[in-house]
Symmetry: C2
Amino acid sequence: MKSKRNVYLKMKTLKQAREILFERFSMFGTLSNERVSVPDAVGRVLAEPVTAKISAPNFHAAAMDGIAVKAENTFGASEARPKELIVGRDAFYINTGNVIPENTNAVIMIEHINVLDENRIEIEAPAFPWQYIRKMGEDIVATELLFPQNHLVTPYCVGALLSGGVFTVSVRKKPKLLIIPTGSELVEWRDTKLENLKPGQVVESNSFVLGKLAEACGATYIRHEILTDNVEKIRQAVDDAAHSDFDIILIDGGSSAGSEDYSKQVISDLGETLVHGVTMMPGKPLIIGEIKNKPVLGIPGYPVSAIISFEQFVRPLICRALGQPDIEPQKTEVQPIRKIASKLGVEEFLRVKLGKVGDRVVATPLPRGSGSITSITEADGIIRIPNHVEGLKDKEPVFAELLRPLSSVQNTIVVVGSHDNTLDILADELKAKHSNLKVSSSHVGSMGGLMAIKRGVCHLAGSHLLDTEDGSYNISYIRRYLPDTKVKLVNLVFRDQGLIVSPGNPKNIRGIEDLGREDIMFINRQAGSGTRILLDYRLRQLGMDSGSITGYENEEFTHMSVAVSVLSGMADAGLGIYAAAKALHLDFIPVVTEQYDLVIPQEHFDSDNIRILLETINTGEFKKRVQALGGYSTEKTGTVVSD
Amino acid sequence: MKSKRNVYLKMKTLKQAREILFERFSMFGTLSNERVSVPDAVGRVLAEPVTAKISAPNFHAAAMDGIAVKAENTFGASEARPKELIVGRDAFYINTGNVIPENTNAVIMIEHINVLDENRIEIEAPAFPWQYIRKMGEDIVATELLFPQNHLVTPYCVGALLSGGVFTVSVRKKPKLLIIPTGSELVEWRDTKLENLKPGQVVESNSFVLGKLAEACGATYIRHEILTDNVEKIRQAVDDAAHSDFDIILIDGGSSAGSEDYSKQVISDLGETLVHGVTMMPGKPLIIGEIKNKPVLGIPGYPVSAIISFEQFVRPLICRALGQPDIEPQKTEVQPIRKIASKLGVEEFLRVKLGKVGDRVVATPLPRGSGSITSITEADGIIRIPNHVEGLKDKEPVFAELLRPLSSVQNTIVVVGSHDNTLDILADELKAKHSNLKVSSSHVGSMGGLMAIKRGVCHLAGSHLLDTEDGSYNISYIRRYLPDTKVKLVNLVFRDQGLIVSPGNPKNIRGIEDLGREDIMFINRQAGSGTRILLDYRLRQLGMDSGSITGYENEEFTHMSVAVSVLSGMADAGLGIYAAAKALHLDFIPVVTEQYDLVIPQEHFDSDNIRILLETINTGEFKKRVQALGGYSTEKTGTVVSD
């Protein structure tokens, strides 16, 4: 099974690799042009400077409703000595936009004339020459430049072009991409029945993501059918593409150095490999090549790698082909909520959630793996950590490139703390009625939530910390860990915690006491989570030693991950909420009903966003949806349990 | 001719009018939904929350190329005591993305194994459990919320949806607009031959501008054919539309209170007029109405009024119908280059050009008339001057809403001063090679340019100021007016100035000395322009009194406007450059060849942008295009004439 492996050429930095690409394809921008009607030109790029064919207005026009007069005939008119004008001789009724009659050079507003009879009017003030007249060419003069070449046509431009007598324009042709998805594991979504999906099969999605990204920056794409990891087939497809009218060819997948990675071989066979491997993360296994003078890129198969590769290499190529500047993301200063180490010698694109808490924008890192598509769909921004930097400090502001408008970041409610499935329902209900608001949750456990409040990096925290002395929840922890912070405690739900086990409970687990059995593999929650505290409390009550539990050291961060561990057979049991077990059709052995509250610092409690959030929690819709999950009680939902 | 006139209802403020509109149509957001494939959902809005159907990965997968092992079997391996594993029993070759074989729980990278033979390998370090494995559900857990309702689908989202087993989604239907252009003066561009266009006829463009703006925010539009100002026809069209499947109806034109403005009458007859007249500028004559529970808006006919009305009223309505927040323009702090008075009681949308000069973004106001479409196509931003404010002070920073990205504003070269047609060619040549750069010219005359440099609100100024003592250009003025500013003087062109007269010179004008003739109407340039200084100098030389010249007090700001005045018959002669006369096929009587320079402060001279601008001036392409205009000499073009 082990066969020939490629070897990376000397890796290039992102900057070097981009320079190599842009230098080699500097003839871009010479793609051919096409003529389109002006309304159809919106979103397209002018291939030539466009000059006006006619003036606008194309005549002297009335700018008001009223009468047209020769200004000189009105001189001397005053309230004391009004001047009479004969309609049809000295004065001509006229509406806005009408042509000024010959021998007139001013308009008097209708409101300022006294009508004496059908033929005579009176004015009480003189008109000065050219008053209320839009002079010919006032807006656009024939022959003048309307827009330079490489100008991106907007809806507004349509008005200026048509008004200037320009009805068709020459625009740059859209660069045409071929995207070839490769990989024996890939299946077409159109052909997929989920129930038949086999382990190891993956629904192909990158080609659509890349294609839609290409469309968004002005290109078109054709998607090749999925190719298995068959070097001959891939070679044939790339060769065909190089000989047809595609401007850029992307081979998606197989760009790495594995035994079944053929992109490099194909590109080298048919043309030249210019770069293999870029010191960036995600996106390291990128290939830049040239076949028949066309750029051919080997795009890594991991989704975030594919996206970063596209945005760093393919998009600028498209922009150049269209005579457009690279798309520069808006940047804003943010503060990472914690220290983040990063590898020296690699430029990392760290995806972060952003939210404005107080007067700072705080950045919460998302999973860093290239395979996590949700790490970019959930991201509000990207922090670039350069090659020579070892990471971010937690108090030092850095710049983030924004993936959403700053206004969205400013309207994000940052929730950090314990994980609960009802937070998703809350996010959805909020978005239903208040589409400008967003809830961004990070799951770091209840203690992590309190610490986030202490450091001022969230608006509120979800918490279910059991005081094992008196059976109360959260209050004593807040007193201990947030002595100087005034907070309000609002109940979100009561919920059932218990053991999540395989359907039918094949190992016949009856409770916590069985976790010490040798045949049971446990999956734990991270230290500092309320669930972990609950477990440890129960173990102490039962006099059990955590060392006796197999898998105690294996930690997950959410209830759903615990449930997945059980579902996949990685573990036999884990402590978690009923909703997680139910979602994945697992069995559930109740252990305790616990109180899950929102801890809200007073300084945020009165803000508009939090007020709306609390209103939403108190709606019947929210409570109904929570109850439908099962394992929840909403009796005290939305009530302030302590302040 | 004078007939019944409408009367405005009590005018509303912008805020009041918006509240009335949004309150009346608060049921928006209940438009119907449709199901589309996930790739086709990009740019659409989710009508329902979307949860994952499968996990991603849907199995435990290798995250690296290597061998899959049971971690426990590797414990104890070290460099000193390597551990041997049997391929096919203890170790299984595996590529990235492959399913982890049963009874294995870790992957060792291919780089870290020693192959002993086909069946045996050796490792020198232990594997910890789950290393280099992407666990089932690591990215997406089945049943979890992927995106809430009202989420706008991006290309990235396609990846998460397909990976989560979601292949089709329910999205909000695009709101459907009918746009009815009305006005007897309007003609269809498709039917228009420019040479047959009669004075008073106007090429209809608003409907396309509004339609394309509607498309840009997620709606679709149907354009009605142009209707003349015929109340019956308009009534019929609006009634038909109200009875069909349109969601929003726009009547463009005829919204004011003139004798041929029928929109209000039609809306009131068929339904109810809620607002007529809004205290904003442009856009005052807006009508908000309701027919059959549908919003029907009377949109003013002036192009900028139409655009502002759309963006303030129609776009938010579309956003609401799509469950989207209003589009919030990015704002930036700018400094107006001069004091700007504004009317109390009216909210003005002042269009401005923006450019970064030094560390400030300076704002140059564009023409304020609602009829000037170029005032919005050329604008980089809009300064909103509230009802209760009488205007802007010149040194006081204000916020501008951006119409282009800030990066574009930062790459704008701000040219203020004398007008010359070659500046357009320069702008075009620059954009051809450096699409990220923009030239923004404001024409305030040569002296205005020097004053702009003095106040630090431009990067360079065009100037042709004749020293009437020694015949030199610019240098003595710079010494006098910019004593403390170090500047470089670069020649742009030498150019012919002369009298622009009608074709065939019907009044037989031979030179400046004829301007005193009683039968000649002159058109002048504004005080402070180099051309005005030249004229006054010549008049003194000739011993002529400016009072003897009819039209001396009529001023235009550019050579092209002077030429238009002659073309339109408003004037018989004006002093201007040959290029302007030639462009409009007018005759030209040479008076003088003059030097036109660029005055560049030293602090900007060495910047990248100015360097590129000067390089462009020195290219053969630029000089050739300038020569083709006629009346120019490029002998010294691009040379530093003084520093």
